[in-house]
Symmetry: C2
Subunit: 220 residues, 2 copies
DNA sequence: TCTTTTATAATACGAATGTATTATATTACA
DNA sequence: TGTAATATAATACATTCGTATTATAAAAGA
């Protein structure tokens, strides 16, 4: 009998406005009025879909987690060819989609940073930060495992002639994949933060080179 | 003729209150009234020392940068003994003072996280974030150089018998110290963020092991 | 078409914010 | 001791916040 809208889509559109504002001006700028203006609604309409601002923020953060999950599981058809350099390149390409190497990813990363630090002081958001953490931890561990598995048929890459191979280099303990995963994970998030504070082109290139180099090392 | 106080100390004490609140509840909780209550003053007294809240926040962030600078330069009497394992341990001990491995460092790291993300959307704070970034970049590069220099007299450490040394491991290009420095830098900040979202004891131990392992590798 | 239910808008309200203003202590020098 | 200058407090003010309230518009079934 009544007017009926796609509540699911409406909530997503409102949450999208939150993310856009958070990327641009931080989460604290995503006031109810600002969100309403961002998606051309009144504050009343926002309240109709989200009774409280806390619920809206939780939903928005849930949306982020969900999207990263989807992106990762989509990527997670990891390459099965066991060549070291090919595996390295394939995984590098995946990881580059998680780094703020272009403006779109940068916006996403800014949202991530905003919510991550918000979760440090907002108990309602903390579970989502932990879930994201677990997600990336296990993903990075799988990357490490995949690279280790690819190391059997490994040779010096065609494009890495400049790399000398000191015979005495003791890499990270080869059996401890979770340590390597944690290393990769920290590397990614650290690079993300640094690319946000200084998105200069050369810094982006350095980050790419760095990831590639580390992956090659994991596939050693 | 008038009542005179130590303005320098007063400003520092007020900024200290900002840092305490930011560590506990985030920078947005450091309102003028909250800061005044934290250090037992009235809002008028705060305003007497800092005409505006923005000035107060900038001063507080400047204080952070200054302290990290002092800590690093104090630490930066880097060990001159060129033994690989000793250098690794000495540098590891230094780096552990930059990670949230105990409650005190955790509080500092929470402040750092709060200001870092605030600087992403607050142009007035951005210069300080960049300065901190440069500071740590150059420090990490020096660490990498020191470890490389120590690699000459290197042997397998007494406490790392479990580490196998695959002969074919190609480490990061040995001549590119800035890349290694950036790697170490990203690793530190990534670990910091992860330890803040999950300060479990085993995670702290893992972070320590990880840093040590990476340093050993740089000293290879 | 009318009615009933929902969606949206408009507005109101109390609380909290940064800052301005005013008044009161407080202290060093005459 | 009195006086001038400063430090501190008290309070006021406009704005913005989240949310509650109320009224209006819209649409599906009778």
């Amino acid at each position: 009998m009544p007017k009926i809208i796609d509540e699911q889509a409406r909530r997503a559109s409102i949450a999208e406005a939150v993310l856009a504002i958070a990327a641009r001006s931080g989460l604290e700028a995503a006031t109810v009025r600002a969100v309403a203006a961002e998606c051309g609604l009144s504050t009343g309409a926002i309240q109709h879909s989200f009774p409280t601002q806390a619920a809206l923020q939780q939903f928005a953060m849930e949306l982020i987690v969900q999207r990263v999950t989807e992106r990762i599981t989509a990527l997670d058809g990891l390459p099965e060819d066991n060549d070291g350099d090919e595996a390295t390149e394939a995984i590098a390409a995946m990881l580059f989609q998680l780094l703020p190497l272009d403006d779109e990813r940068e916006a996403e990363a800014r949202v991530w940073a905003a919510f991550s630090t918000a979760a440090l002081v907002n108990p309602a958001l903390a579970p989502y930060a932990r879930k994201m953490d677990e997600l990336l931890v296990s993903f990075c561990r799988r990357c490490a495992e995949q690279l280790a598995a690819a190391s059997s048929s490994r040779g010096i890459g065609a494009n890495s002639a400049a790399i000398a191979a000191p015979a005495s280099a003791p890499a990270i303990a080869p059996d401890d994949r979770s340590l390597q995963g944690a290393h990769l994970h920290a590397l990614l998030d650290g690079l993300t933060l640094h690319l946000l504070t200084d998105p200069a082109t050369d810094r982006r290139r350095q980050a790419e080179a760095l990831v590639r180099s580390f992956l090659r090392q994991l596939a050693a």
